[in-house]
Amino acid sequence: MNVQEIVAKADLVVDASGLGCPMPVVRAKKGIDTLQSGQIMVLKATDRGSLKDVPAWVQQTRHTLEEVVEGDGEYIFVVRKG
């Protein structure tokens, strides 16, 4: 699945590109709070720290990290709300 397809399927896209730590996770948390259980959030980030922090954050929640796409200095996280 390419990035366009992933984004097209999302219920919400949170763009944290260009933002440093902690903002990608802070924005993701705010975003996912607006969704219903089972809905999909796509988070875009460029901060390298998010590669470890987003999975670590998701792990402590009831949500599920469905996919991580890495490329071109950009990271795409697909999170299903629990």
């Binding site: 440093g20 730590c21 902690p22 903002m23 802070v26 948390k29 922090d53 954050w57």
Partner: protein, 384 residues
């Protein structure tokens, strides 16, 4: 979010506080994996790890472990998340400081500590607390020699200026694999000579300007009789060299550490180099007096910093505590060193070597990134 009310402090301020009675309480807000791999450790540091994203949920239990009667220093990777958490804590009434630059700044900080000083010479050890690297500056009669300089050469230049000395000699005891050397750059900037063993440079196919260290048996610093005797000590790398200053201070490079010996496994020829290391230990070191101070280029753990704040020990002490410095049967020695050898490489070790022999050049940002994290150059005491 009001961030203006958060008090920020530099790494220097944190290190000063670490040396006060009572020490410091550090709240590290990085993810658990990064915290477990590498964190601020020292005597008198109490450290807790609560990832910043845990604070996104309103959970009062998070705060149960945090002290209300002493300052809390928050730390993260670069200083953003620690500020975020400091804000939350500050609003709850905690006395909190966010450490600017986080672990990146910690990795880049060098702490100067005077090893010895009299009217003839002054020897300073620069301790890179975040990584366990040590640089030395020997001063005498307005001249200076710097051994195993790290990449922030402006730091040594400023120190030399403050001391009113001219840097004449810049030496690397070997080609480093775990951190980027500032040796060549420093020598160029101050017009000093840069020395390193040509064995090490050629081993890695290097292409840079240097003076072969093995060509010199003595170097002079100052007009006073301060002899620097070059003692080739293969083992860690085939060209490793140690320096004996004034017959009293043995700068051992990565050959002998306070907690053990150098890793002979970094070049892939463990047995051959273990035997070289044996010859060094049994022949070269056995001539040195028990009263000689051993001052290495690295340390593996903060407990190697002694009560005077330096990393070093008298050779006699090391002989008492490290059987590898006493055990003189070649096969027993080689087996013990081989058994403690590991396949774990320092992070980015190929690239760092290429930079240190002049084959590769990267941006300053990439340099910082390449050498971040703990040091893995020391073999621990074989029984540890």
């Amino acid at each position: 979010m009001r961030t203006d009310s958060v008090q920020k402090v530099t790494i220097e301020t944190l290190v000063e506080a670490m040396q006060q009675p009572g020490g410091v309480f550090i709240l590290d807000v990085r993810n658990r994996e990064d915290y477990d791999a590498w964190k601020i450790e020292s005597h008198h540091v109490t450290s807790r790890n609560i990832p910043y994203f845990d604070f996104l949920e309103e959970d009062e239990r998070l705060f149960s472990d945090l002290p209300q009667d002493r300052p809390i220093y928050t730390v993260c990777a670069k200083g953003g998340s620690s500020e975020y958490v400091a804000q939350i804590l500050s609003e709850k009434g905690y006395h909190v400081y966010s450490v600017s630059g986080g672990m990146e700044a910690w990795s880049q900080y060098y702490h100067p500590q005077i090893v010895y000083e009299d009217e003839k010479l002054k020897l300073v050890q620069f301790i890179r607390l975040g990584k366990g690297c040590l640089t030395y500056m020997l001063m005498s009669e307005g001249e200076a020699m710097i051994v195993d300089a790290l990449r922030r050469v402006d730091f040594y230049e400023a120190y030399a200026e403050k001391e009113g000395v001219t840097i004449k000699h810049v030496i690397d005891t070997h080609i480093h694999a775990d951190h980027i050397s500032g040796g060549q750059k420093l020598a160029e900037r101050v017009g000093a000579t840069y020395y390193v063993s040509s064995h090490d440079v050629f081993e890695h196919g290097g292409s840079m300007r240097f003076e072969p260290l093995e060509k010199h048996s003595t170097l002079r610093v100052g007009s006073v009789e301060v002899d620097v005797i070059v003692i080739p000590t293969p083992g860690h790398t085939p060209g490793s060299t140690s320096l004996l200053i004034d017959k009293r201070f043995f700068l051992s490079g990565d050959t002998v550490f306070v907690s053990g010996l150098g890793r002979p496994d970094l070049g892939g020829r463990v047995e051959e180099w273990a035997r070289d290391l044996y010859r060094t230990v049994s022949q070269k070191l056995s001539d040195l007096d028990d009263a000689v101070w051993v001052l290495p280029a690295h340390y593996a753990h903060f407990t190697e910093i002694n009560e005077d704040g330096i990393v070093g020990a008298k050779l006699g002490e090391l002989r008492r505590f490290n059987e590898l410095l006493r055990e003189m049967d070649e096969d027993v020695f080689t087996k013990a060193v081989e058994a403690s050898a590991s396949t774990e490489r320092p992070p980015n070790f190929d690239k760092i070597i290429a930079i240190n022999v002049g084959k590769l050049s990267v941006t300053p940002e990439d340099e910082i990134e390449l050498e971040i994290g703990p040091n893995r150059c020391a073999v621990h005491h074989a029984t540890a």
